[in-house]
Symmetry: C2
Subunit: 181 residues, 2 copies
């Protein structure tokens, strides 16, 4: 039952939104405040600086990743199946946080880069444990990264490879499962 989001959360949502749809350059305090429906001064009450805003987004990402790791581990269809299928952008809160953080990482925001790296490491550990073969696990990670790259990072989103792969997710999962036996 989602109650009305706090002003703080609306600011983070707005920041994510602009990062995703228009990129780092456009994500100014002015633009974020306008999108969140507050004044710049109001925004800076909640996040004392732009850097604090970035940290806020990274903290949100961290929390979502923790939940996601549980979901992966306990997925009925199995770790690899769930992991691959969740590697296409579905505009979930986690997807949005990841894409926004990636935009920041492409600037020179070491904290965003660190957060993404540690997310990858955690995913790898779970997948590796599930398949019991490092080379296979590495390959699965690459396919997952490729899916993300296509569906999330090229903002046009209609990128050929990923759309085909999305339409053929069953096929892709079968293809990758050839590696695990």
């Amino acid at each position: 039952m989602p109650s009305a989001p706090s002003a703080r959360d609306r600011v983070l949502d707005a920041f994510e939104n602009i990062l995703i749809t228009q990129g780092e350059r456009t994500a100014t305090l002015d633009a974020v405040a306008a999108e969140a429906g507050v004044s710049k001064g109001g925004l800076l009450y909640h996040f004392g600086s732009k850097d604090a805003l970035v940290e806020g987004l990274i903290d949100r990402l961290g929390a979502l990743v923790v939940d996601d790791l549980t979901n992966i581990r306990t997925a009925p269809a199995g770790v690899v199946d769930y992991f691959l299928r969740s590697s296409v952008n579905t505009e979930s809160p986690l997807d949005r946080a990841i894409i926004a953080a990636t935009r920041l990482a492409q600037g020179s925001q070491p904290k965003a880069q660190e957060a993404l790296k540690s997310m990858q490491r955690a995913w790898f550990d779970v997948v590796n444990e599930a398949v019991g073969d490092e080379a296979v696990a590495r390959t699965i990670m690459l396919v997952s990264d490729g899916l993300y790259y296509n569906s999330a990072l090229l903002p046009t989103a209609l990128s050929e490879t990923s759309n085909r792969a999305l339409a053929n997710m069953d096929e892709l999962v079968a293809m990758v499962s050839r590696l695990t036996r």
Copy 2:
């Protein structure tokens, strides 16, 4: 025999450099001019606007992609082997142009997004022709995108997955070749 690069080329080199190492936000006309060793006015003689600078970079990318397609097609070790091995960033002129264009695409530069998409399509066609199976070709594209994502897009570059994959390139090529038979 590389003669001293023209001022125009030095400006493009500088633009690429800053995009790659510091991101879109920092790639201002001032910064590019300083890195290229010219004044802002000097820069704007060669590229009349920032948009023209972006187009210059995309044109350079286009030319490098044309050359690359020939290299892929005629690679002695075969299309897939060459294609996968060339999917890790080696700081080649093509790699640099791709990464710089990706930075721009993450802003809202439709031309950069288009250029990257058409590059992907051309690669896919060559790989698909070589392996003769669309599902396999799609999977190979995803692995390649994953390699690029890891070695090029997370600027720290020391990203786990890709470094391991780099050290184990033979292993990865073998893994993928399991799919082609």
